[in-house]
Amino acid sequence: MFRSAMLFTAAVVAAAGVFVRLGGSVAHAQTKAPLEWGEDAAVRPWKRYQGWPVRGESKFSTLAKLVSPPPAKEPRKLGAPLAGNAENGAMLVADRNRGGSCLACHVVGPAGGADLPGNVGPDLSEIGSASREDEYLFNYIFDARVYNPETVMPPWGAHGTFNDQEIADMVAFLQTLKTPAVFKTELDDPEKRPAPVERRENLDPIENPGMWAIDKAQDLFTQKMASGSSCSSCHADAQAAFKTWAAGMPKWEPRLNKVLGVEEFVTRHARTTTGADWPMETDNNRVMSVYLHFLANGTPIAIDTSSTEAKAAIERGKELASRKIGELNFACTDCHGKSADHWIRGQWLGPPKGQYDHFPTWRTSLQAIWDIRQRFQWCQVNIRADELPPDAKEYGDLEIYLASQSDGQKLSVPGIRH
């Protein structure tokens, strides 16, 4: 009775746009954890991280809107024979600055020195002997969907990455390819390159600087914040209180009408209880997220899918995971489904299972901790789609779907990855 009355009042206040605080540290273990919901959990307007590529891709779909041009229905008829410059084509297929380079997915004979090509797409080293018409190859690069609606190949021409002349140049180059690629070393051959194995001990602070977050979080945990209280005021024994908690996240949160992950939960719960300002994708938030996951290490991921809302969120997440977005027109499932267990350039594409249990993770290449939402954002920027703010409800749906795919895997946080 009391709880429903309290929630009702809070909902009215929230609707009026007033900052809401739910007190009551004593009772909340039995009821619901206090959450602030009057504000966003991350900066608005969302600003892309410093050092990330700056490009507006608003003419292409994102996880929040469908705006990419529809695929062509018919191959383009070329009026005149193609007059491509094979030399320029050889340069374009290996140019990482333009298309991300054909070598990312294909072995392309001698192009790029046959240096670490991928094997998501077929080996094109002998395509010149395959009796393919120029027009066919042109259309395959321009928009392969006219031949294969299920293709993962980006529509390079239809999305404006390459112009007609550049595509003609690449076709001319492809027609010169008649002999199997020669690799300098076995590692360069994606068919022989062994799948990477992670041997580092991610929970050893000498090996994984991500572990340093634990000390910082323990300090923050007992530090008195704006309201005069700290996390430990209510959660005296963090180890006991959070032994399994993070393994049940993310979860559907009816008060916010979306899926909450650990990071957004931390922002909202801390704001309303201790007054700490820990927005998502700031250092203190990341550190607390590492710590809360760390406390649940070894616990199998077990997402609460009992409510119809949670089930619906997982369904939406599944749909988002297969949505084609960005200039490169990739869906999550293109890389981590259809093309899983293949090489994209020198990087190994894993299946969805196993992409969640180690987040937040230390990234050795960046000397930084990334949570799962930042990982989502980077995937999008990388395929030339606009990312969403980290607390976007679409990411919540995607995260609960991803977590459900990793059901039963034991948390091991912080991970350590390239």
Binding site: D204, I206, K216
Partner: protein
């Protein structure tokens, strides 16, 4: 908050055993050669000296130069004949000395 050094060595050892000691200190190790975005050189600031003592006697030391990467990690061995305390110190260019200790029981 200064980051604390990380140590890894056995808590117990047999008399006369050669033990492995791993040490790491979080530090940016600015070489002095890197430029900031305005083109100005970022001043050199590195850990320039590391020492390890056991019961007050030197065991190992190293002068560290700017080519050493961030978060310098040093691994070395020592022969232990008695129980006691290892004491490690890292000297920063600015004069700050960070220390850490670890005890070992030798039987």
């Amino acid at each position: 908050m200064a980051e604390k050094p990380r140590l890894k060595l056995p808590k117990e050892a047999k008399k006369g055993a050669v033990i492995e000691i791993k040490t790491l200190i979080p530090h940016a190790m600015q070489t002095g050669l890197v430029k900031d975005k305005d083109g100005k050189a970022i001043p050199r600031k590195i850990i320039n000296k590391f020492t390890a003592e056991f019961n007050g006697k030197p065991v190992f030391s190293a002068n560290i130069e700017p080519a050493v990467a961030a978060n310098p990690y040093l691994q070395f061995t020592a022969k232990v004949e008695e129980s006691g305390t290892f004491k490690f110190s890292w000297t920063d260019d600015d004069g700050t000395v960070t220390t850490a200790e670890e005890q070992i029981t030798v039987s």
